[in-house]
């Protein structure tokens, strides 16, 4: 089947655009790594949805504390006696919650800001770009530390909100440049000349073309947010009641010498998830031939 590489004056649907960007199925074969990444993420998604299938115990059940890994407790037990393996599995859900929530926030704000800046241009564009410049120039972790520490309460939702509010400029920048480049293509100009309404242009032309770069960016940012949350928690600024891997790692910090398994295994899972997301993002970028 032949799909046109570049749409003429016809409208592009998202699917058509997707296929036109597939630079050969050969690339899929070469990117075995990204397939692996995808599989790992899918496994994690399943774990997030049905943790009790794999986890042998409920995370709050306590046993004898500080047991080293054994056949009953694959990852051992922590200082309070909870099974580390079950905790880690249940932690997948929290990780997804954090990542998804932050990404949603940055998408909403980023689309709005970036889209407006790119599409309308002029002083709105200048203003928004100044703001993003300033936020992007600051060292993000330091800003996060300051922002989170402002609040008396340590709540996971507040952390998510703060991270999303600090992270949106990265998304807005990319969206803006994509919108700008599409705005000036001949087929959008032709559509305008034929009297297409702004709404039509946005939904039929611009949106389908920015989906792919956004998806790739989301993958990368998801990993970033998860890592940031873990870092913040590690510094003591996290929500100790949330079930994130960061909390588990921090809990094991002080007993590293005697019970290394408490920190090591949650960290391992964190590591695997981050790598899987990276590989997936790289693979997607390679397959669809996008420069982000």
């Amino acid at each position: 089947m032949e799909f046109p590489k570049e749409s003429s004056i016809e409208e592009t649907t998202a699917l058509e655009y997707l296929f036109s960007r597939l630079s050969g199925l050969r690339k899929l074969k070469r990117n075995k790594a990204s397939i692996v990444g995808l599989c790992i993420i899918l496994v994690f998604i399943v774990l997030a949805l049905f943790p009790n299938v794999i986890a042998p115990y409920h995370p709050f059940t306590t046993f004898r504390s500080r047991q080293s890994p054994s056949s009953e407790h694959w990852f051992g037990t922590d200082t309070l006696g909870r099974d580390v393996f079950s905790n880690v599995i249940w932690g997948v859900r929290t990780t997804f919650y954090i990542g998804t929530a932050c990404v949603l926030i940055e998408l909403v704000i980023g689309l709005l800001m970036g889209g407006l800046a790119g599409y309308l241009g002029g002083w709105i564009d200048d203003l928004l770009m100044r703001i993003t410049d300033i936020i992007l120039a600051l060292p993000t972790l330091i800003v996060l530390i300051l922002a989170v520490s402002m609040f008396k309460v340590r709540s996971i939702n507040i952390i998510i909100l703060v991270m999303g509010l600090i992270g949106w400029p990265y998304m807005a920048r990319v969206i803006r440049s994509q919108v700008l480049s599409i705005k000036t293509t001949p087929y959008v100009e032709a559509a305008k000349a034929m009297g297409a309404t702004t709404q039509r242009i946005i939904f039929r032309h611009i949106l389908p073309n920015i989906i792919l770069p956004i998806v790739i960016l989301i993958t990368i940012h998801f990993a970033g947010y998860v890592l940031w949350e873990a870092s913040l928690t590690f510094l003591g600024l996290g929500d100790p009641n949330s079930f994130s891997w960061g909390v588990m790692i921090m809990a094991g910090k002080n007993v590293l010498r005697s019970c290394p398994w408490i920190s090591t295994y949650p960290g391992l899972f964190l590591f695997i998830m981050l790598i899987a997301l990276q590989i997936l993002g790289d693979g997607l970028r390679d397959i669809f031939d996008i420069r982000v």
């Binding site: 300033i134 120039a137 600051l138 060292p139 972790l141 530390i145 609040f151 590293l256 090591t264 981050l274």
Partner: protein, 324 residues
């Protein structure tokens, strides 16, 4: 001559940025619920009300925000960074004690990561598709996903706890006496190894991949064939002709990474009990030490702006095509 003007212009731009960001940070910090007095006293009982009020007045915390800012600003220009509420020590003293260790860590991490990633990146690019290339690229991918605190903990586990080769905490062994300066420096180096590696791991992974990719781009250029056609040795072609071009885009990225180095420093310093500014920052946020926080922030912002400037200047200097 033009370079000097460029630097001057950039320095001027720093001033408004500086004011803007310090105002922003000041506002943010003071918007946080609770203030140092509250922390000092815990929950204030009705009996303490008067004392609390008096303390607040002493510290000027009852005045409106913008006045507080100007007071702070005027003091800063006189070189007085204030006193820490908790320690009653001069902030400037606290920071200057901790400044050098952090700089030590960051500079070493930066240099280490640039050197290592250049070596590996160039090697991977030149020996493309070989087993070395695959090994290096895979390691780089793994490194990018590694949380630095987890890496640090594992390194501690392996090298300090199981093998006992390297120490964990601090910059030097407390209370140790060395018979020679060599012994002293060796001890310092041993304390530096793990923190520097943990801090730079992510950088190395990222830069290696970047340098490999820029080298591959450059090696496909026609001027490389010209250089070979002149009869130059392959090593000259790679290190003189290719590398300079390949490193140009990396300079810009290094500037951005200094920011992430600072965040990383906060984490690593906390973990290794490294007496630096990062740890001070983290601790001050718990205790709401406004003076310390403002000063630290000022310094950090200043460092960021200056490092951006340096990066841009270095790039403009290295690339003859840039007009300034």
């Amino acid at each position: 001559m033009r370079l000097r003007n460029y630097i001057f212009r950039r320095l001027l731009m720093i001033v408004p940025l500086f004011f803007f960001t310090t105002i922003l940070v000041f506002t943010l910090i003071h918007l946080a619920p609770g203030d140092p007095v509250m922390i000092m006293f815990g929950t204030s009982t009705p009996y303490m009300k008067d004392i609390v009020k008096e303390m607040r007045e002493t510290y000027g915390l009852d005045k409106p925000l913008y006045i507080q800012y100007f007071i702070w600003l005027s003091r800063v220009f006189r070189g007085d960074l204030g006193y820490s509420y908790l320690n009653t020590r001069k902030v400037i003293q606290m920071i200057s004690e901790r400044g050098w260790p952090t700089i030590e860590l960051m500079v070493l991490a930066l240099v280490f990561s640039v050197v290592i990633s250049t070596v590996f990146g160039v090697f991977a690019a030149v020996k493309r598709h070989s087993i070395f290339d695959n090994l290096i690229t895979t390691t780089a991918v793994l490194g990018r996903g590694m949380p630095n605190f987890w890496l640090a903990m594992n390194l501690i586990l392996i090298f300090s706890i199981y093998l006992g080769w390297l120490p964990v905490f601090g910059r030097f062994t407390v209370g140790a006496v060395f018979s020679s300066p060599f012994g002293y420096w060796l001890d310092r180096i041993k304390h530096l190894i793990l923190p520097v590696i943990s801090l730079s791991a992510f950088q190395i992974a990222y830069f290696t991949r970047l340098i490999r990719s820029t080298m591959l781009d450059v090696l496909g250029q026609e001027y490389i064939i010209t250089a070979r056609a002149k009869g130059l040795k392959e090593s000259v072609v790679i290190y003189k002709h290719a590398l300079k071009n390949a490193l140009l885009p990396v300079v810009t990225v290094v500037g951005i990474y200094i920011g992430s180095l600072m965040g990383g420093a906060a984490i690593i310093e906390s973990l290794f009990a490294w007496p630096g500014m990062g740890r001070l920052l983290v601790n001050s946020t718990y205790r709401r030490e406004y003076q310390v926080l403002m000063s630290l922030n000022m310094i950090i912002i200043f460092m960021v702006l200056v490092s951006n400037l340096i990066t841009d200047v270095v790039y403009a200097y290295l690339d003859p095509r840039i007009k300034y």
